[in-house]
């Protein structure tokens, strides 16, 4: 799991500046079905903003509303302070890269890219100069005379990107830009997208259902579910401080235990987990009612695993047996069956070139798990 480390410093937008895109109370109904349900959104200049959500949750619909290809049932869209809700797509300072690329099959790569500039009436020499520049940037200069059907999937994707970028829109909307690519090419292109975004300084709004992609690319992510935004924040914020159980399990993986509040003083809470018949301590910044039902969530990499018992003054210990090990090279994921019968996932980096016998624990071994009170999160529903 990457945390978009290179974006950490710029992850929180400059709140003092006016947002470039301001979406207020957008609703979109298809008959009786509500695809987008009262969405508010602010996106800042130069941001790489992702909309993340499961299939069918309304991501494309929201993007199409921003592009003007769909009109909202209610609500308003502002770009740069101007209400564009009723502007047709061809009058918006916004360009979209389609999920299907939508390249014109009867035009060469160069003419596809030039299309938008021609519509703007850019003069010939200037037009072709800009087309050449952008084709250079996406490394397609050699293929400019080809038709789309003579290109590979990755090349088509870059033409689509170039075609949308060459107009230097205020906002570039990208609908699942990398979905059609294989894993290697996708990862490579992710970084290329980030490089291009930094180079041209255009505000990107990327729709994706791939949380890894969203984490890698984005300055901020909006997680969408059933037409609503559940949480908006930087990748690290969503990962470390998820707002609820949905976010916690949607972004990365998490171990979830059901329990009750025994004691809570506003900094440290003691939670009783009935299935384990034991108490756990969690640092939690809010008061919780005694006896309240609660979920305790802890990420796999936050759990320490060892074959020797940790010192008894360590809180939050669980004993279990290793059920399964998934070796993924850089780390191993241990599935540990606890005495209570549930299975916890624990990841551990493979820091040395251990032979099988030198793994932290082997199949069937007894494993001691523990985590710090500050590494778990509580959710009330």
């Amino acid at each position: 799991m990457s945390h978009g480390a290179n974006h950490m410093t710029q992850s929180e937008p400059n709140r003092r500046s006016e947002p470039l895109i301001k979406v207020k109370g957008i609703v979109k109904n298809f008959g009786a079905f509500t695809a987008v349900d009262n969405v508010d959104l602010e996106i800042y200049r130069g941001e790489l903003f992702s909309i993340l959500g499961a299939s069918g949750c309304g991501k494309t619909t929201l993007l199409r509303i921003l592009a003007g290809l769909e009109s909202p049932s209610s609500g308003t869209v502002f770009v740069d302070g101007i209400d564009i809700t009723n502007l047709p797509p061809y009058e918006r300072p916004v360009n979209m890269m389609f999920q299907s690329y939508a390249l014109f099959p009867h035009m060469t790569v160069a003419h596809n890219v030039a299309y938008g500039l021609k519509r703007d009436g850019v003069a010939k020499p200037e037009l072709w100069k800009r087309v050449d520049e952008i084709l250079d940037m996406v490394e397609l200069s050699d293929l400019s005379k080809r038709k789309p059907h003579q290109l590979s999937g990755g090349q088509r994707q870059r033409v689509a990107l170039a075609r949308a970028l060459v107009k230097q829109p205020k906002v570039l909307l990208l609908d699942e830009p990398l979905a059609a690519l294989d894993k290697r090419l996708r990862e490579q292109t992710q970084f290329e997208l980030m490089r291009i975004q930094e180079q041209v300084g255009v505000t990107f709004v990327v729709v994706t259902h791939d949380q890894g992609e969203a984490m890698t690319l984005s300055d901020r992510i909006a997680v969408m579910d059933c037409g609503r935004f559940v949480q908006i924040g930087s990748p690290s914020r969503l990962y470390e401080f998820p707002k609820n159980r949905f976010i916690a399990s949607f972004i990365g993986s998490v171990n979830m235990l059901a329990g009750q509040v025994v004691r809570c003083d506003g900094t440290l809470c003691t939670i009783y987990i009935p299935s384990h018949d034991s108490h756990f301590e969690v640092e939690h910044g809010e008061y919780l009612d005694k006896g309240a039902a609660i979920w305790l969530a802890v990420r796999p990499e936050k759990i320490r695993i060892s074959q020797t018992s940790p010192t008894s003054d360590m809180p939050n210990q669980i004993l279990g047996i290793v059920d399964d090990i998934a070796y993924t090279g850089n780390m191993s994921t241990y599935r540990v069956r606890t005495e209570a019968g549930d299975v916890l996932e624990v990841t551990h980096p493979n820091q040395s070139r251990a032979k099988d016998s030198q793994l932290v624990a082997d199949w069937g071994d007894t494993a001691h798990l523990c985590w710090a009170p500050s590494d778990a999160v509580l959710f009330s529903e």
Binding site: F98, S100, A102, P105, Y115, G116, R119, D120, A164, K167
Partner: protein
């Protein structure tokens, strides 16, 4: 172990052989059909076009003849073709036919294109009904429909009666037995052949291309000219050929609606066969018509495949 390893490719080879021979059979069927029902009649007509006209049954000479000394000779009469050149009637009629069917094809295109577009754009339930309405005329006889137009266009016909009744004209317009009547007949009869290929073409058109064009700043008219129109060229070509080719050789429509005033090659051909009983000349007229239609098509096809190859 070894044996099964060797037997595997053998078995696979058999399967492949059987499946390819099946494929050949499947491909052979339409070829056979074309051979029997298209190429053979064509060769017969070609043969007759090189024969001499006789007053006999059949009314033409045979090309092959065995002389008394046993030698086989072939006698080809080129006069039938040179006759077509020499008599200005034929050249004029060919040109007139092509002119009339060209105008009719363009009219069909101008009327059919917006109709096909409207059908594609309509909601799916309406679309089905509209398509049925386009096909509906085929359920009645072609001849009957042309006769119906005679009733509409005649001096005392429906159209003139209505115009007089409305007080727009005093005397009936001369609609029948004119080129106008022929155009009306051809456009009416062949319009579905224009609409259906256009519809099939437009239906495949990806909506997101139109959206992408709008997104890139093109107004609807620009999108139509730069995206929709070029991408529907195949439909326009297919529809135009389906109208132009049969319209050029059309006999019933010029005969019934054009009368003696509109010269078209179909009528000349009919007259040579039936009135003059000159089968060889009639055959030569038919072969020339075929060449006139096929050669431009082949040139077009050639340029298309060359373009696709680039």
């Amino acid at each position: 172990m070894r044996r099964s390893m060797y037997s595997y490719p053998l078995a696979k080879g058999w399967v492949q052989k059987i499946s390819t021979s099946w494929r050949n059979v499947m491909i052979a069927i339409p070829f056979f059909w074309l051979l029997v029902f298209f190429l053979a009649p064509f060769l017969i007509v070609l043969k007759i076009s090189f024969a001499e006209s006789l007053i006999a049954s059949p009314p033409f000479s045979s090309l092959l003849e065995i002389l008394d000394d046993g030698t086989l000779i072939m006698r080809l009469a080129y006069e039938n073709y040179s006759y077509l050149w020499e008599d200005p009637l034929y050249v004029r009629t060919y040109l007139n036919s092509i002119r009339i069917s060209t105008i009719s094809t363009i009219l069909c295109l101008l009327i059919g294109y917006p109709m096909a577009y409207a059908i594609v754009r309509s909601p799916s339930t309406t679309r089905f009904v509209l398509l049925m309405l386009i096909i509906l005329p085929f359920w009645s006889s072609f001849l009957l429909r042309v006769y119906a137009w005679m009733g509409l266009l005649a001096d005392q016909g429906t159209i003139n009666n209505i115009l007089i009744w409305l007080g727009l004209i005093d005397r009936p317009l001369r609609l029948m037995y004119s080129e106008l009547a022929v155009h009306i007949g051809i456009v009416y009869s062949y319009l579905p052949f224009m609409i259906l290929p256009l519809y099939a073409n437009m239906e495949k058109l990806d909506d997101s291309l139109i959206e992408a064009s709008a997104d890139l700043g093109a107004r609807p008219i620009m999108t139509f000219l730069t995206v929709t129109l070029p991408l529907t060229v195949p439909g326009m070509v297919a529809g135009s050929l389906l109208v132009f080719i049969p319209a050029t050789g059309e006999f019933v429509i010029p005969d019934l609606l054009g009368g003696g005033n509109v010269l078209m090659i179909g009528r000349v051909l009919y007259n040579e066969f039936n009135a003059n009983h000159d089968w060889p000349v009639a055959s030569a007229v038919a072969i020339m018509l075929l060449l006139v239609l096929v050669i431009p098509m082949m040139i077009y096809q050639h340029s298309q495949s060359k373009q696709a190859g680039n």
